[in-house]
Symmetry: C2
Subunit: 239 residues, 2 copies
DNA sequence: TCAATAACAATAGTAATACTATCTTTTTTG
DNA sequence: CAAAAAAGATAGTATTACTATTGTTATTGA
């Protein structure tokens, strides 16, 4: 059984909705186990997107869901864990999409190109079966995802495997990198840099364009081209 | 008058302590204008370092300084502004150090190498005249700096020029990049990527090493070598 | 040098946040 | 149908993030 088939087995696909089983250190009660739980996650994505993570509170979320704060706390310990849950879901989703789209590609350069396309969102993979507001989720990933690890107790929560999906995504891309250029000494570092700088350049090009070389002409494909150039020149120079 | 001389003129150097005049949108009352203000900034660096930004409060800071919360509020509107002040100070400091160390170098490759060295802290520039706890400040920059712009109202606060020192640092490095490789189309993007990924890889190598290729052997120079390879292969490939 | 004024300390208070606890009602399930 | 689990309703606490007021001590500038 190949790794992709294994992944498919880990999910249940029902009526166009993908379910990922996430690490139970992320929640108190599995939000996938009830309609209310799903609503909490779904509406939290919309609310974090519109308020920003700092301004987002469980009280506001409860009002949105039509329930009470206490009920939200029955699902998630605090808002950081909820964000971590959302970001983990996204990492799993991306890993899944990557496998799906790489399945029939044999050329490692094409694989890397596809991965960059996915990360920079230049591939319009349909949001069929996603269940959540895709725009909101992607914006949250860009603006808030680094807040899940940029905390004092990273190492403590890391023990509970909460970064496993991220590490798996990072490893998968690192493997493609090594496949493309076996002599390159930093495949994982380049992979994490690729993931993070894709997001960061998207953020900068939208909100602080002076930190980038984005302009009216290259706008739509700027991040993809910049990151693509960065990765391939680096690897080709290390061949 | 060259740009470096201009910069020197912008500062006053007194008894080994460097003072930078920072944007007054950052504070209510200039902390450089009193001994208490300096204490507030200095001890906030120690406290943010030891508690992490999320756990850090003005009440705790006031206790540390031996004053009251109300007094701290007379200097800074809130803790986000204080962090922004600290990070701005660091950006100005780095820009100053960069100019100082690049002064007598003519070769653009050597200039870039020096810049990378400074960003990855592999150059032990003496902390003489810094006035603050250098280790704490550098750790804050690595772990907390992105929180100053990853907020909902980035564009609003950007109007007050609070990211100017960052943009200046980014531009300065971008100019060296263009000097080294005039045909490279993304000098500012590469510059911001260089700055941010230097910090991120330092963070990952310390706290989530599985996302990098750090090991016992390359530990001390890992980030510098990775980033150096990334930048030079990218630029050499675009010549 | 004295009078004004700014700086700071001390204290108090408010609204919101981040929770926890308890009790009742509803829903699920064995 | 009974037991158990989930959710609703309500209440309450500690901490955070401020604002306001008043009195005292430095500073400074006429």
């Amino acid at each position: 059984m190949d790794i992709f088939t294994t992944l498919v087995h880990q999910m249940k696909i029902m009526a166009y909705t993908i379910h990922f089983k996430l690490n139970d250190a992320l929640y108190v009660k599995d939000p996938e186990s009830s309609a209310l739980g799903k609503q909490i996650v779904s509406l939290s994505i919309d609310l974090i997107y519109s308020l920003g993570f700092e301004t987002f509170t469980f009280k506001k979320l409860a009002a949105e869901v039509g329930t009470t704060e206490a009920t939200v706390y029955r699902y998630f310990e605090n808002k950081h864990r909820l964000l971590l849950y959302i970001i983990n879901w996204y990492w799993k989703y991306l890993d899944f999409q990557l496998n799906l789209q790489l399945k029939n590609i044999t050329d490692s350069r094409k694989k890397l190109e596809k991965a960059i396309g996915l990360l920079t969102e230049s591939i319009s993979d349909d949001a069929e079966g996603m269940g959540y507001n895709k725009t909101a989720l992607y914006e949250i990933v860009i603006s808030e995802s680094s807040k899940v690890y940029l905390i004092k107790d990273v190492e403590e929560i890391n023990k509970h495997q909460v970064f496993k999906p991220y590490k798996e995504l990072c490893s998968r891309i690192a493997d493609i990198i090594t496949d493309y250029c076996p002599s390159y000494p930093y495949p994982k570092s380049l992979s994490s840099t690729l993931i993070e700088s894709s997001h960061l350049q998207q953020f900068f090009s939208l909100h602080l364009p002076g930190l980038t070389d984005v302009n009216e002409k290259n706008k739509s494909s700027y991040t993809q081209h910049f990151v693509s150039n960065l990765v391939f020149q680096t690897l080709d120079g290390n061949k």
